[in-house]
């Protein structure tokens, strides 16, 4: 069982390499089978996972370069477990829904390689391994956008690559510096996260390192003002690219904050709550407004992603278990919901080869099932209670309320502005009379599309009504994280701000 993570990482890799000899005709079946097996393996990991244990599980550590303390070091806790499962699920759904005629084989193999990187990032406990997977994930996405994208695909792909790459280089410098300090303090090299956690950094050093890591993560999230690569990437990427990008790749940034910044730089994190929160608020309000101004459906969803990621950022910097658990949950629900919304936009794009809302209107009359599923996802996106979208948004905001009621109230406008752009999208595309001749004979969802979408609808409702199975393990690990931060914090300000929950205290 201890090798389950290695299996999860390397199975798609091997399957991808073997896939090179599979014929074009049977590649779809092959891809779906591999992704399904991978998904089932990840579910198996969940069943074997001990929800009561807040620490890392299925840990595997093999020294790779002992002289420099680099090791193959993997493990999962409640925070990363479900992100991994979501990554495997969305890959499977993405492959099922694939509707590409050109170079299908290359696409499927690329997706499998991308899966390797995604799983790898979220289970790595060694900074170097983490960095390798982090950068490696760029390559398949660069290829997906560059090869199957729209008209300006090269510009979009290069922008995506260079922008995020530049950010992560600065993060790499930060990582090397942490390792250097570690070597100075203990006398030996190590890139293991667990070793780094035990390192108490003086506050001035934390400050610099915080911003170095911040740049790497913030560009990935993407935080305002580093977000402009995202609309291009989404605008040009094929449907599956957008699904994976929105559902999983963006989460690497927010996950990075939880995994690196908070436990390693608790004092600096508390110190910089205000500037980070201001950026998050700009993301929430400003991009929600930009989303409203869009003419293209896909761009609305793309900007809405940025807006929702702002709420996740608020939750992370809430410095209490309510907010951080909420933000981790929100990462999952945003993954499912925005993934589904991109799939849904893809459905109409396949039929009409346009995504402009002005080209539609009255779709609810001709495509009732499509309208229904879109409606459910819309409601999840605007955070309706009893859908998955509510739980995370509510908890993130509730948590940040402890830090600043005023900023939370501003961030809470997310529920208003979100309704504004989503309902206006829905009205323009689905309501009203059918005006365009071309829309009168549109076919409703076919079996393949339903297979991809119905599981997502089921998840959105199930986890909206009963989030406990995943919220509880998340919350356990988050509580441990918060109490660790509290213990490690040096400044009185940080000690006061980081709130250890009463239940944790009682347990101690």
């Amino acid at each position: 069982m201890n090798d389950i993570l290695s299996v999860l990482i390397f199975f798609p890799l091997i399957a991808g390499i073997l896939g090179l000899v599979v014929t074009e005709k049977s590649i779809r079946a092959y891809g779906i089978s591999v992704a399904a097996v991978e998904f089932i393996l990840s579910l198996w990991m969940w069943f074997a996972f001990d929800p009561a244990n807040a620490g890392m599980q299925f840990v595997k550590r093999i020294a790779v370069v002992p002289d420099f303390g680099i090791s193959y070091y993997v493990g999962v806790d409640g925070i990363s477990l479900f992100i991994v499962i979501m990554a495997t699920l969305m890959t499977l759904i993405g492959i099922i829904a694939l509707n590409i005629k050109k170079d299908l084989k290359n696409m499927i193999l690329t997706l499998l390689f991308l899966e390797v990187a995604m799983v790898g990032v979220f289970v790595s406990l060694d900074a170097i391994i983490f960095y390798l997977f982090w950068e490696f994930s760029l390559v398949p996405m660069l290829y997906i956008i560059g090869a199957w994208g729209g008209e300006k695909r090269l510009y979009a792909a290069v922008k995506f690559f260079l922008y995020t790459f530049a950010g992560s280089l600065i993060m790499l410098v930060g990582m090397l510096y942490v390792a250097y300090v570690y070597q100075q303090t203990t006398g030996s090299w190590s890139f293991a996260l667990t070793d780094w956690y035990s390192l108490v950094l003086i506050v001035p050093v934390q400050k610099w390192l915080f911003w170095a890591f911040f740049l790497g993560f913030a560009i990935k999230v993407p935080m305002f003002p580093f977000h402009t690569w995202l609309p291009y990437a989404h605008g040009q990427a094929p449907t599956v690219g957008s699904v994976i990008l929105a559902a999983v790749l963006l989460k690497m940034g927010t996950y990075g904050f939880v995994r690196f910044s908070l436990p390693m730089f608790p004092d600096a994190s508390v110190m910089y709550i205000t500037p980070v929160a201001i950026l998050a608020l700009i993301m929430i309000v400003y991009t929600a407004m930009v989303a409203y101004a869009q003419k293209d459906m896909k761009q609305v969803i793309a900007y809405s992603s940025v807006s929702h990621m702002g709420v996740i950022m608020l939750g992370i910097f809430a410095m209490n278990a309510e907010g951080i658990s909420g933000s981790v949950f929100f990462m999952l629900s945003h993954g499912i919901v925005s993934g589904a919304l991109f799939l849904l936009v893809g459905v109409i794009y396949d039929r009409r080869h346009t995504k402009l809302m002005s080209e539609f209107g009255g779709l609810a009359s001709v495509m009732p099932n499509y309208a229904l599923i879109f409606g459910v996802m819309l409601m999840a996106s605007v955070g309706l209670p009893l859908t998955m979208g509510f739980v995370g948004e509510y908890l993130s905001l509730a948590g940040f309320f402890k830090i600043s009621p005023v900023m939370t109230a501003i961030g809470g406008t997310s529920i208003i502005f979100g309704a504004v752009y989503m309902l206006s999208l829905y009205k323009r595309s689905f309501f009203g009379p059918v005006t365009h001749e071309a829309n009168k004979a549109l076919k409703d969802l076919d079996a393949k599309e339903l297979t991809a979408l119905i599981p997502l609808v089921a998840i959105v409702i199930w986890l909206g009504v009963y989030p406990k199975p995943i919220l509880q393990p998340i919350d356990n690990s988050v509580k441990a994280l918060v109490s660790f931060m509290h213990e490690k914090a040096q400044t009185p300000e940080a000690k006061n701000t980081i709130v250890v929950s009463k239940r944790t205290k009682e347990a101690q």
Partner: protein, 630 residues
């Protein structure tokens, strides 16, 4: 008893899901029958619970955990106390009638099945709202009814947008979005209230929260009270968040009866009643609620005076009556507010459904100036609407007389004579506009004839289905004493002072007088037929009222349009021209500097030597400089 709680709660949901199975099929009568039956079952369970609560006290059940993170833990818990039992009974009773009625009303609609699915889903949400034992559970229902209301207002989504002159609501889908977004604004206030409660009390359970109220800081209580009331203002369409309610009349008429008159819009009143320990502790906020309610009562009534749209008139009257309820609750007479809420639910639903009959007869024509003399063709509907209007006007011995009179007595009792005077005057306006509508529709000359309408009475069973509401509109007031005894087991009792008791007869006479005066005035002007007065219709006050004080246009100019314009500026000018241009600018600086330094690579050896010696000189200078520093 636990089982009855679940039956009452989940029967509507089961009905909704059942109907949803048929949502894309052609009309199947079975969906209407099954959902109506399940609603009736839910009603029976509610009555049993009402009886149980009356004799044995509240029932509390916890279904399962919902959200649990950090120290926050919120279950799906339901508490059936006196207030909830009354709300459940009212909601399920009116819903059952509306369901049965809709079988006839929606008979020819191609989305018959979908309609029942939405309608039952609404009832389920409403039940969650009133049954929950904590604030977040209430919020589930709160948002749930919002979505169902969105779906049902926009039920005829295929209609295109038109200008305000043609239809002040623009289109069903427009009105639906307006309602949802405006409610969301208020919901943010409510959410902030919930956060405040959580971080100050550490729980969202009603029992914990209200137990903690006496020991809390007064300023904090005021803040919480204000934010929760902002939430209530949205759902109950109080000024300035009122415009959506009149536009919501774009929905099918049974929806207007159920959601936008009898149940959902009273959710705000329910919240204030529910949080009575909180609002009792903050009299200044309560007084504000009473004043705002009073203002809305007369403000909405004034708009009803001149309107020609059958449904909008009733919508404004709903708004006005909600104002009365808030006035009562704000004055501390919580049980009176609840009493008026229930009475209003019965006669207002009846009024709306009667209006639905008229619309059916008139091929969906809503302009009462085009009607008149319908009493010949529609005797029963005339009777029903007449009764409902009498009840609304507060004429003895109908339901509205007792409930409205008690509100006025309470206003007198609190020595808030200003509130009393305004509410008293509004009672006269109410009687006038109600009977203006009744007479213009049913009495006088038959103006519809030249327009080619052939009105007819609705099906018999529909008329029968309305009879429970008609009976209740008449007799409900007679149960004022037992009602009071029952709900004040839970709610604070409200005693009238001796001074008030002394003056009760005078008060009653004065109130009845103005109501009768309103009716008589309407009778004089409209019973014989419509005599239009161009001069009045062109006058400024008339036009202001007809255009809803120009508030919708104001909102459009001040909020909607600038928001859209600003969004466009943010996207085109800021995001593309500044933020993204900076990124591309940095990229091109790098590219150009690379491009220009490429020219160094000339391939000429002497160029390289020159550069190398230059570089060496710089290095030497640096070393010297560093040495000097030491």
């Amino acid at each position: 008893m636990e089982n009855y709680v679940y039956i009452a709660l989940f029967a509507p949901l089961a009905g909704s899901l059942f109907a949803a199975l048929f949502s894309q099929r052609p009309k199947a009568l079975v969906t209407g029958v099954v959902t109506s039956t399940l609603l009736f079952i839910s009603f029976v369970a509610s009555v049993i619970l009402l009886n149980h609560v009356h004799h044995e006290g509240a029932v509390h059940v916890t279904l399962m955990d919902w959200i649990s993170a950090g120290d926050m833990s919120i279950p799906f818990g339901f508490n059936i106390d006196q207030v909830t039992a009354v709300m459940m009974t009212v909601v399920t009773l009116v819903s059952t009638v509306v369901h049965v009625y809709s079988n006839g009303y929606m008979d020819h609609d191609k989305s018959f099945n979908r309609f029942f699915s939405y309608l039952s889903a609404f009832v389920f949400s409403m039940m969650v709202l009133v049954m929950s034992d904590n604030f977040l559970g209430l919020f589930i229902g709160w948002e749930g009814v919002g979505v169902c209301s969105w779906l049902l207002i926009g039920f005829w989504y295929h209609k295109a947008d038109v200008t305000r002159d043609v239809n002040p609501s623009i289109s069903p889908s427009w009105a639906a979005n307006e309602a949802f977004i405006m409610n969301r604004i208020a919901d943010l206030g409510m959410l902030v209230g919930i956060f405040l409660i959580y971080w100050n009390i550490g729980s969202l359970q009603y029992a914990d929260v209200f137990a903690a109220v006496p020991s809390m800081n007064h300023g904090m209580l005021v803040t919480i009270g204000i934010f929760l009331f902002i939430g209530a203002m949205g759902k109950s369409a109080q000024f300035p968040l009122h415009t959506w309610l009149a536009d919501a009349m774009e929905g099918p008429t049974p929806v207007s009866a159920l959601i936008h008159a009898a149940t959902m819009v009273t959710a705000g009143v329910y919240l204030v009643i529910r949080a009575n320990p909180l609002y009792s502790a903050i009299p200044e906020v309560s007084y504000f609620i009473a004043v705002l309610g009073t203002f809305v009562a007369i403000f909405a009534a004034s708009m009803a005076l001149v309107n020609r749209d059958l449904k909008r008139i009733i919508a404004y009257s709903t708004l006005s009556q909600l104002g009365y309820m808030f006035a009562a609750a704000g004055l501390g007479a919580y049980w009176v507010a609840l009493f008026h809420l229930a009475a209003h639910a019965f006669f207002k639903a009846l009024l709306f459904l009667g209006a639905g009959n008229v619309m059916h007869a008139m091929d969906d024509e809503l302009d009462i100036f085009k009607m008149g003399g319908l009493k010949k063709a529609m005797r029963w509907t005339y009777l029903y609407m007449g009764l409902a209007s009498l009840a609304l006007a507060g004429i003895w011995p109908l339901a509205g007389f007792f409930s409205k009179d008690t509100i006025l007595e309470a206003a007198f009792n609190e020595h808030t004579y200003g509130i009393w005077l305004v509410l008293w005057f509004t009672a006269g306006l109410t009687a006038f506009y109600s009977f203006r509508q009744v007479f213009l529709t049913f009495a006088g000359d038959e103006r519809y004839k030249p327009l080619g309408f052939h009105p007819h009475e609705v099906q018999k069973y529909v008329l029968w289905a309305l009879s429970p509401l008609a009976i209740l509109a008449v007799i409900f007031g007679w149960f004022k004493e037992p009602f009071m005894e029952f709900v004040t087991q839970f709610l604070p009792a409200y005693e009238m002072s001796e001074h008030t008791e002394h003056n009760v007869v005078i008060l009653t006479v004065v109130t009845t007088a103005i109501a009768l005066g309103g009716i008589i005035f309407a009778w004089m002007r409209y019973y014989k037929g419509l005599k239009r007065d161009e001069k009045v219709e062109q006058s400024l006050p008339y036009r202001i009222l007809l255009n809803q004080y120009y508030i919708p246009i104001l909102y459009e100019r001040v909020f909607s349009k600038p928001y859209a314009a600003l969004s466009k500026v943010f996207w085109e000018d800021v995001d593309q021209q500044v933020v993204d241009a900076t990124v591309d600018g940095i990229a091109s600086v790098i590219q150009e500097s690379g491009d220009s330094s490429r020219k160094i690579q000339t391939g000429n050896l002497s160029d390289y030597l020159k550069l190398m010696s230059g570089g060496a000189l710089v290095l030497v200078a640096l070393v010297l400089f560093a040495a000097m520093q030491n």
